[in-house]
Amino acid sequence: MNSPVQIWRQHKTLHNYLNKIGKLLVWTKILVAPQGFENQVPYLVGIVQLTEGEKLPVQIVDCDEKDLKPNQKVQVVIRKIGKARSEDVIEYGVKVKSI
């Protein structure tokens, strides 16, 4: 778990990605998760290329795996990352949803 200061610093740039459009290059399904992600299993992750060219590793949300296809159009959303303990700062980050 990152410290509150690290989370605060990282949150300052999240808005740069919000609502950006891209395409899903490749994805997989995680069945064994790292700490903080155990309650999300199974979940989809992939590599997305934004229209501007930047490539990002991201979770794919709000969709069924069977509906995904290569070069699927996606949009960046801001969502909660992992699971914070009750006394922790809740961490947010970028994910994508198919559109």
């Binding site: 490749v26 998760a33 992750v45 590599i47 990002l56 991201v58 979770q59 970028v94 994910k95």
Partner: protein, 389 residues
């Protein structure tokens, strides 16, 4: 370059719950020092490869901690390069010998991974990923699964090709008493094992392993055979003649391609050039098969076969013991086990034993030139060594 591999030592790999990191290091290093026919007082520097003991067991300063087991008062270093820590420590030790700073050094690679839960070790290993990968909940099976899927889509590589890597390496491990999984498996078993991360099943992944390996490297020109009693002479002394490291981005998504590891190409090119050989001269290799796709990528990027042909190359049997170019005769990371920082040492030890002619049931006939290939992260650090007898 001509650095003598003067002694080697390796523990059993596996779930070694009754052994600590220090027990394992002591065992491997003692064996290496005895094999070199030296005593600890001859060791001028100690290089310790380790990735995660500080994180999991709260013990840092491992250079001094391991050196003090032998009351060595010279220089000591801890080297970290994720799963390439072992190869990286060997590379740095060689540089110190070439610089003339030391003449005899001990390199130890050790990892204790089975004391914690699977989610704890998965998180600890993701220290070798990028921050964006950690925030996406990615894991190393996930990263290599993305590479495998892309390779399958682009080149028609199949699940059967991936399974062939696992079947071959389990066969090799069945001949290796130090291996974590010294038994054979069938293709059917590999294909039908539980899915861990699409398209991987359990038998596509290397395991969580405890273990240690150690080597004594020397710049002295006294051949090992002269230093030993005749009863301990082996077929020939083994020298490291090429040692190169290459680097790439830590994040997989930042790279141009998902179907190659450019640092492998770069490190191999440099190491082979240093050794004054061609890649076609290699008789045997230990490559970094942390996942089955990684062995396929390694064979392609090292130049053993064309890009995209790795799957078919495996199925032909060329890389099985008895084939033209045996790969991972130890059982590889897949079946010998993968105590991350010990892996680079184990690769050097396996090739040394093969070139000495002391590999027992898995001996490759007339092997003269061997190569090791050790990868950190998803390809951010690659170390390649060439060994010759």
């Amino acid at each position: 370059m001509k650095i003598l591999v003067k002694g080697v030592g390796l523990t059993k790999f596996g779930e070694l719950w009754d052994k600590s990191l220090f027990d394992l290091s002591l065992q491997a290093a003692t064996e290496a020092i005895q094999d070199a026919n030296l005593s600890a007082k001859n060791i001028e520097a100690v290089f310790v490869a380790n990735m995660i003991h500080g994180k999991l067991a709260n013990q840092d300063l491992l250079g001094a901690a391991i050196a003090s087991l032998f009351n060595i008062k010279g220089a000591s270093f801890r080297v970290e390069g994720a799963c390439a820590s072992g190869g990286l420590a060997v590379h740095l030790a060689i540089q110190s010998l070439l610089a003339g700073t030391y003449k005899n050094v001990l390199v130890v690679g050790a990892e204790k991974m089975t004391d914690v839960t699977i989610s704890e070790i998965t998180s600890a290993l993701m220290g070798a990923g990028s921050e964006a990968e950690r925030k996406a909940g990615l894991t190393f099976p996930g990263l290599y699964a993305l590479m495998a899927k892309t390779h399958m889509q682009k080149f028609g590589t199949t699940r059967n090709h991936l399974a062939a890597v696992s079947v071959k390496n389990h066969y090799h491990a069945s001949l290796n008493e130090k291996a974590q999984f010294p038994f054979e498996i069938t293709e059917e078993k590999a294909l039908n094992s539980p899915e861990i991360c699409m398209p991987f099943t359990l038998f596509d992944a290397s395991p969580i392993t405890d273990g240690a390996g150690a080597v004594i490297l020397s710049s002295e020109n006294t051949p090992r055979r002269r230093a030993l009693t005749p009863s301990r002479w082996t077929a020939g002394d083994v020298y490291i003649t090429g040692s190169a490291v290459a680097t790439d981005t830590v994040g997989l998504a930042e790279r141009e391609s998902l179907v190659e590891i450019p640092a492998t190409k770069q490190a191999a090119k440099m190491a082979v050039k240093q050794a004054g050989i061609e890649i076609a001269d290699i008789d045997i290799a230990e490559v970094h098969d942390c996942f089955t796709i990684a062995e396929i990528l390694a064979m392609e990027d090292l130049g053993f076969c064309e890009k995209g042909e790795g799957g078919k190359f495996i199925v032909q049997g060329t890389t099985k013991l008895g084939g033209r170019l045996p790969i991972n005769t130890s059982g590889g990371l897949k079946a010998c086990g993968h105590p991350v920082a010990a892996t680079g040492l184990k690769q050097i030890i396996e090739i040394t034993q093969q070139l000495r002619g002391s590999a027992g049931k898995r001996q490759v006939k007339d092997a003269k030139i061997g190569l090791t290939h050790n990868v950190g992260g998803s390809g951010a650090t690659v170390v390649v060594h060439v060994l010759q007898t």
